[in-house]
Symmetry: C2
Subunit: 541 residues, 2 copies
């Protein structure tokens, strides 16, 4: 991914040449450096003050002198000031910076070379906060307690910082650099995760009227929160708009370009929350709701992130009654990721094995012998009730069967119902029909490999021509990468926040009604999904 | 001292009223506060970004909410940004801030109420670095060594921070406030002392071409250097121009107003260095030289700071041969301060007891019996050679005689010679005659009580009408007070630095020649001092 954008990156290098001190000019070293650097600033940056952060002063002076009063200054480019933070004699081969998608369950990061926009490394990690609570609400609860003398909030912050530091180590190792060579960090995460990262109380986030402590933190230094990247690396947090509308979605808007489009489109991001933005370059309206973590993996028993061995595609041949699965990197299956789950349930619904209520169903109807044998073999009764065997133990990667339990299916049904309810609530607010939409950008790890047809079959996404759907991958991460590379993106990220109208769904009656109607496959009103066949078990051959 | 100036103080309070959060407007707390504060900014500050420093975020959000979303925000007013740092429901009765004169041997500070400019408290302390070296050079040497695992530089920084923290404690106690109620600090000190305070290497300050590491540090937070005032208090360091021309003199220029005068005047500040500025509103030229610590007290055996029991005035009646001394607060004498020393030596010179070379002299010439008895009684031979008994043991405050030793006299002679050489070198550089000067402002603890007539007698100051001389007290401290109270002063302090031409005396041949000529009382060329009588011991009655 070369040249994410060629606009002003968050950290830049400026070539400085000065005369060494003499009796005729014994200007202090750092003042000399500052004067020299100011002469070489690009015109767009000339008006900004050029400051030297306190903690950078000693090292900066030493290195400028060691370099013989000429070389290359590293400058943090913030909207209101430039920060002179380091100096080297040689020009840097690259300026590594970290883009981070700070998810509730998983974190994903890339190392971006700010000199050209190349991706140098890529890392994933489970959020170390998981041990304190699987979902946001339980972590907010945990944050407010005390244990062995330290507050839950402190532990949660330390946990996620530890996770990030491990990723820093991973990224640096992959790229063959030192941790302190990483010169900037951009973070897109939901509002609560950002509060935890910053050590801020999330108390009012989950209480009416759902008010975060801060939505637009000013940039700060990596060392302020104990990160092991360069201590003077600026940390840029993508702003959030409300308690349930975080910087991850702002990043998605940036990455998809929704805020610059002439025609109305939609962006859907499904992580722990389903977050949706509708609009164009003139207006943006957004809402978010708890879609449940079922699609994000890590919570459902067999759910997992899209990683090696995760089932991402499922095909049930209803002639031969053979179930084919494809896993990421073709590794033996160890679980199923969001996109695989949606395909699986869609296939099971079309096969009459999941009914319109989303329940696993032993009924064999008038089907063939092969179907009967398939149902017999694949539906098993366990201690948690009925489960569907996606991959038997002998074929899996961990010696246990990969199962779809009813409880997982229930979670997925809530998620898909919430998603559709959100989409319809939002469009009805502004009087837009689904058919008016130019494109629907589907983001999230969930969106990376999703088959829109399967999602339509389940009634999760509206029944539109498949060409309407554009997968945009982890747009939260891609937006964070843009933040690193482009000042225009940084300014836009703040502007988007001001431009968006946010609808709070947690108190929206209309949403609750629509949610109820969506808890069937595809919907209580099948006319909304003309392309989805009506499945009657007794008719399945 | 009411209303040092009524211009924008370094920290200001802004009354903020906002609507509490609601479902219709659940803007995050700190964003709400920022929007509310921005509406109430004075027009002069509107264009500046209003930032929330990272470390202030959590507390600010909590207190804004506790105050019910309305009250008073404390804002640090920096040239390029405003920092929102605290919030209280009630308006502050006062906003205490500390002005500090950071001297090599002594520190002096005042607590200024930024709401009106009143001085709330006043404190002195000996510089805790004294134990590591009496003068700047020995401390620079100490800074470069290591001892018990910590560098000398670290120890020097800790020593002065400890001294300042004791003064903070003292000031807070006097004013009946908490240490964290002190909301800002301005510091005027010589370049080396500022480097030590900031933990910066002074290595190149004393080595040709005498280049400091930094002259114009950006403001930082008190906690960055371990000060016990409010952790978000901005620390404003008065800029320095060269290794030997520090912020203390910039402060003096600010306090005297030299940079705004139509007629050419001069500012003399004698501390450990003699620093001199010549100029007017159109130009300023400055130089500094090691005048020796003799006049500052604390180094010479009997020298002391102008404090209770310090001899500040001396009168030797050459009829009765009685020596009268006046001490500060009329306490029994325990030492002699700079101004007392100058008067004493001038009187002894006029009495023929100190000769034109500055040597104590037993010669009794043709004088009276009384004079002979006086010399007999007062000149004593000790292990360090000849001394003059200023106050006998039985009349002193510490049971020991207050002595003027020849070694002290030698130090004073070097100081006075350096001072006059500096003054003549500087004026000759720009072709100004002493008689062209409108005023000579005499600053420093030294200048507070100085008798210009005595200084002229010694050939320390030029032989001008006494009305030319204006004592300005501790102008370093007064300049620091102005920095706290006035943005115009803060901007001027940076502007003065750019405007001054600085002459390095340490490498100036002319200075060395002039210095030699000045090592006599009053001078090798008595024609320069027409008002000073030529004293011949044999003629003293």
């Amino acid at each position: 991914m070369k040249n994410i954008t060629d606009q002003q990156p968050l950290v830049t290098e400026i070539s400085v040449v000065t005369e060494p001190p003499s009796l005729q000019d014994n200007t202090a070293d750092i003042d000399r450096l500052r004067i020299g650097a100011r002469k070489k600033l690009p015109p767009a940056l000339e008006a900004r003050p050029l400051v030297v952060p306190f903690a950078a002063m000693a090292g900066l002076g030493r290195r400028f002198r060691q370099a013989g009063f000429g070389g290359n200054a590293l400058v943090n480019v913030l909207p209101h000031e430039l920060q002179l933070v380091d100096f080297h004699q040689e020009i840097s081969a690259n300026i590594p910076a970290m883009a981070l998608d700070l998810g509730t369950t998983h974190l994903e990061a890339t190392l971006v070379d700010l000199t050209g926009g190349e991706i140098m490394a890529h890392a994933h990690a489970a959020n170390g906060q998981m041990r304190y609570g699987a979902d946001i609400l339980s972590r907010i609860h945990y944050a407010e307690g005390h244990d062995e003398g330290s507050s839950g909030l402190v532990r949660l912050q330390q946990a996620v910082v530890t996770t990030i530091n491990k990723m820093v180590d991973d990224l640096a190792g992959q790229a063959g650099i030192q941790q302190e060579d990483i010169r900037a960090l951009s973070v897109s995460g939901n509002t609560t995760m950002v509060h935890f990262l910053l050590g801020l109380s999330p108390h009012h986030i989950c209480r009416e009227p759902y008010t975060p402590l801060i939505g637009r933190p000013d940039p700060f230094f990596a060392q302020d929160i104990g990160l092991h990247i360069n201590q003077h690396a600026p940390v840029w947090i993508l702003p959030s708009i409300g308690s349930y509308f975080g910087g991850d979605l702002i990043a998605g808007i940036l990455a998809s370009g929704l805020d610059r489009m002439e025609k109305t489109s939609m962006l859907i991001d499904v992580g722990t929350n389903a977050e949706v933005v509708l609009g164009n370059r003139d207006w943006l309206i957004a809402c978010a709701g708890a879609a449940g973590p079922a699609l994000e993996g890590g919570v459902a028993k067999m759910g997992m992130r899209a990683g090696p061995g995760a089932i991402e595609h499922v095909l049930l041949d209803r002639e031969s009654w053979r179930l084919q699965v494809r896993t990421i990197e073709d590794q033996p299956a160890v679980g199923i990721c969001g996109s695989g789950l949606i395909e699986l349930v869609a296939q099971l619904f079309l096969a009459g094995i999941v009914d319109i209520r989303g329940k696993l169903c032993r009924q064999t109807g008038a089907g063939s012998e092969k179907r009967r044998a398939f149902v017999q073999e694949r539906l098993v009764e366990g201690e948690d009730g009925l489960s569907f065997v996606v991959v038997p133990a002998e074929e899996s990667g961990h010696g246990k069967p990969v199962l779809l339990a009813q409880v997982d299916l229930d979670a997925m049904m809530r998620s898909k119902a919430a998603m559709y309810a959100i989409l319809t609530t939002l469009t009805s607010q502004v009087g837009v029909e689904f058919s008016d939409l130019d494109h629907i950008y589907v983001a999230g790890a969930f969106g990376k490999h999703i088959d829109p047809k399967a999602a339509i079959t389940l009634g999760m996404l509206p029944d539109l021509p498949l060409s309407t759907y554009v997968p945009v991958g982890n747009s939260s991460l891609h937006g964070a990468e843009r933040i690193l590379m482009s000042e225009e993106a940084r300014l836009r990220s703040m502007d988007i926040g001001r431009k968006i109208t946010y609808i709070e769904l947690n108190v929206n009656q209309e949403f609750m009604l629509r949610f109820s109607g969506s808890r069937f496959i595809p919907h209580t009103d099948p006319a909304l999904f003309p392309s989805v066949p009506v499945v009657r078990v007794e008719d399945v051959p």
